[in-house]
């Protein structure tokens, strides 16, 4: 019972954070709202029983990725965004579209998926279980994903390095 209440509360916090992310005009406030979303998602994972995934969610997303986001915003010294009036097309087509899409996804998940609903605390969350799954059943997707990440890293390095510009020795380019 307490678990269900907590699950709903953190679900609400998550959605509120996501809406606040869109509503804020300053990039730092938006980034911090995203941190709230990540952290409350981690609590949801924890309540579902996936404690390893929850911890990794906090360490990787809230603790590393979002810190880099905040770092970039601070480095660029980005100011508050200007707000436009918005378009009628977005209002008339967008809002019903989003609602219909959300309902469709919820309906498919509830009715058509084979697993059905996941009870609270029922996910196999032990690190050993996840490790066994990753290195036996899902070895190929896991390795393919890591190569994909490697390619992305190399792409970032290529984009960031400027071979024509002379870099003073010992300084980062």
């Amino acid at each position: 019972m307490l678990h269900l209440v907590l699950f709903l509360v953190f679900g609400a916090i998550c959605v509120a954070g996501a809406i606040n992310l869109l509503a804020q005009t300053h990039p730092i406030s938006s980034a911090l709202s995203l941190v709230v979303v990540m952290a409350s998602l981690a609590v949801e994972y924890l309540l579902l029983g996936a404690e390893f995934v929850a911890a990794v969610q906090v360490i990787v997303y809230a603790g590393a990725v979002m810190v880099l986001f905040v770092f970039v915003i601070m480095l660029l010294n980005a100011g508050a965004e200007e707000r436009t009036k918005g378009s009628h097309v977005a209002l008339v087509l967008g809002v019903p579209g989003v609602l219909a899409g959300g309902l469709l996804v919820a309906w498919v998940l509830l009715k058509r998926s084979e697993t059905g609903r996941v009870a609270l605390g029922s996910l196999p969350g032990y690190p050993k279980t996840i490790g066994t799954l990753l290195f036996h059943e899902f070895l190929l997707p896991f390795e393919v994903t890591s190569i994909l990440v490697l390619i992305a890293i190399m792409g970032a390095v290529v984009l960031a390095s400027r071979p024509d510009a002379k870099t003073p020795s010992g300084k980062e380019s």
Binding site: I28, F52, A62, V67
Partner: protein, 349 residues
Amino acid sequence: MLSLRIFIIASVIKTVLVIFILLTAVAYTVWLERKVVGHMQNRWGPTRVGPFGLLQPLADGVKFLLKEDLTPPHVYKPLFIAAPMIAVICALTSIAVIPFGTALPIRGYSIPLQITDVNIGLLVILGVTSIGVYGVALAGWSSNSKYSLLGGLRASAQMVSYEICLGLSLVGVLIVSGSFSLREIVQSQGGHFWGFIPKWNIFYGGQFIAFFIYLMSAYAETNRIPFDLPEAETELVAGYHTEYSAMKFAMFFMAEYANMITVACVATLLFLGGWSGPLFGPPLLVAILPTFWFVAKIFVFLFIYIWVRGTLPRFRYDQLMAFGWKFLFPLAIANLVVTALIVAYRSSL
């Protein structure tokens, strides 16, 4: 299994006691640092307040409380106020999963000396400390001053970089002991080999290099000399906490020293066998001795911290990044691969 009421009473008492001890330890680590660094530099350190200056932390606390709390007009107020809170909350939270010893037998109940024993204890500590970066980064940004901003930028880049080496240096220990639970990691280090050398991970597990990497990254994570670039006073006034005064400044100060103690706890638990040590004497002494060994090891670790501070000069920023990424990071990966191979070989025998 304890009954619910006993569990709640024990938890509340433990939480209050641990936070009280931690804050006292923070205050006296500051005293120890001033004293030790003072003697290293051929001066006395604090001597005026109480015998050996022992009441100095108290006087400092009173001073921090009574000083005027200035908020400069150009700051972004919500984050300026929230930043020191984030820093100090994250620093105090991670102590919750640290075990201080075996269980204390009180009136037939066995009370474990730990606020809560979770099976992903180590990950909780890493997660909470990784959130602590926001305190420093946001303090730098919200102060709206160039020194603070530079300090905040340096801190976030440095902490994210060294967190990777810190995490990788711990994975070797996790492979050797096969658990995330801090209690189980300590229990896996019990006993001796060759008759007298304790089976600590730093010796038996072959994690000596990992301990070195952990030590270096931990200094960088806690912004201590030789990695204290975020608050380098010769270039940045006081870095990210330039604009802070009174209790808000003290909160950053407390967070820094609480983080030092947490780091020392983790090093003790993972590499130095936790509370294991020689046990002797009557039952009461046997019950207390593990905690004594644990505290003694933490003290040694903190002393090394202060010793390094009194000895080494500060890195230049590019040296810091090169050291982290080009030396510590490959070394940590090599240690991980070798440890994994050895463990796989041992288990295949």
